[in-house]
Amino acid sequence: MMKQVLTLLSAILFLVSPGLIQAAPLRIEITEGVIEPLPYAVPDFVPENAAAAQVARDIARVVAEDLTGTGLFREIPASAHISKVTSFSSPVQFADWKAINAQALITGAVSLQSGGRLVVKFRVYDVFAGQELGNGLQFAGTQDGWRRMAHKVADAVYSRITGEGGYFDSRVVYVAEAGAKDDRKKRIAIMDYDGANVQYLTDSTSIVLAPRFSPTGDRILYTSYETGFPRIYVLDVASVGRRMLQDQPGTMSFAPRFSPDGRTVVYSLTQDGNTDLYTMDVASGRSQRLTSAPSIETAPSYSPDGSRIVFESDRSGTQQLYIMSASGGEPTRISFGQGRYGTPVWSPRGDLVAFTKQHKGRFHIGVMRTDGSEERLLTASFLDEGPSWAPNGRVIMFTRETQGAAGTASLYTVDITGRNLKRVKTMGGASDPAWSPLQD
């Protein structure tokens, strides 16, 4: 049994030579397609005063949910632990953690001070190397921000072991849905990436669609039918104050997205039945036309450096993906596979474009390189659409709608390797997710 486990471990650490057993740095290479999740232990954090007892347990649980939720890590339950961690500063009994095959050990301590100030400390250990991985870190905040502190701990652990940026301390803005399919009520809502701390930002008197964060997460663009016609609004997250960006009678505007500097919005405007791309300077309201074609041009998304825009167009006869300069000009088609391609979104790392694909009556979320090569479909269902990237560019959230009269929409996440497809916990129906950047 032990030998089998060791073989699996070495498979994680040395993907090229699964039979080899030797000491190695604690590391997961996400891009290589992990075979087996890395076993780790996160005992309850040590409460440094009596008031911190509950929150110390809760924080360790959220850290574990974050890590295990990635599909890259597997928690060894407390019932299997040999050592108890009762002091943050005592030496770690590595033999006890090796014996239960914990590759990584996360210890922490929490104190709840007067005035509700919460201080969280943690360390990560590479058990088989018998040493700490990185240095201990400390976060402080208010008690009601305890989940964020747990997410920050998990982000640091994830980052140290994978070498990638984390994504747990992030939020998602989406459309909360209720009611039957032919009488659906929609509200803009915001939540933590894991579905906690839901807040509704609009009521359901008007159809609202496709909210998108600003690059710093302080503002949200969305489309609303408040006037009876689709119009773009910008909403301030802190104050929940909002304003219409433009009211041009006889037109519809939708599919807005911020530029990486947050100063410009690219969007679709429909006039006389024809939909083209425009940009607008948020401060002045001045707009500029980017495309002038009789075809549908929509779903634009900026490259991370702001120099280019990926969008969909049916100028070839069906929906396909194109890239052009952010100031307009001749676009280059990048999608050439069978079927229709829509809703492209540029990865925050710049290397990939995520998209929705329709082929033979099925919908897929997929990724391709920005030159259209290496297309990879990650999902398949009756209706998947609208991918949004996690801040680290490794996970995609999207909408999945089930078929039939009782069909409902839910949010799902999937790794860019196509692994770890999971439903995001939401109250009721949910669609059109947009992931925030990592919070400060």
Binding site: S206, I207, G273, N274, T298, A299, E385, G386
Partner: protein
């Protein structure tokens, strides 16, 4: 949208019972029900007559916005009615079925609504009396996930409105 706030969407109790009012959701519209200002279905000047006898909607093929012969025939009737009843304006609502991405379907619904508007204007209806809007796949009237339902959802509906202050 001053006109909209003053406008009253005229519908009938019959229509309300027949479908689940997908096109009537805006808070600033007042649903009059059957007994109010929509008149009787036998009164050829009534919006109810327009809806039931002239026919308020045309259907489209998958991913298309061109008007079939049948659709053109319905729109000929709509144009005649609108020219004969100049007190009324109309909003043409374009819709798509659920097989498509949200943004594309909004644009597709706009193409359909625009095709109807252009046809009505060609037949002599003043363009100033017609507005267009697309709901994409947001307001299906049939909710099964089969072609029988999709065919009815790929539609453009001419919704009669009256500006009582004009």
């Amino acid at each position: 949208m001053k006109i909209l706030t003053r406008a009253i969407l005229l519908t009938s109790a019959l229509a309300l019972a027949a479908c689940s009012s997908p096109d009537r959701f805006r808070g600033d519209e007042v649903n009059l029900g059957g007994a109010g200002g929509s008149g009787s279905a036998s009164d050829p000047t009534s919006p109810l007559y327009f809806q039931e006898t002239v026919g308020d909607r045309v259907l489209f093929a998958v991913d298309q916005s061109n008007l079939s012969y049948e659709a053109q025939s319905t729109l000929d009737g709509q144009a005649q009615w609108l020219m004969a009843n100049a007190d009324y304006n109309a909003i043409i609502e374009g819709h798509a079925d659920e097989q498509g991405t949200r943004e594309y379907n909004l644009a597709l619904g706009a193409r359909r609504a625009n095709a109807v508007q252009e046809y009505l204007v060609q037949q002599g209806v003043a363009a100033s009396r017609l507005k267009v809007v697309s709901y994409g796949k947001e307001r299906p009237i049939e909710i099964c996930s089969q072609e029988a339902c999709y065919a009815k959802n790929r539609r453009a509906v001419t919704v009669i409105s009256a500006d009582y202050n004009s």
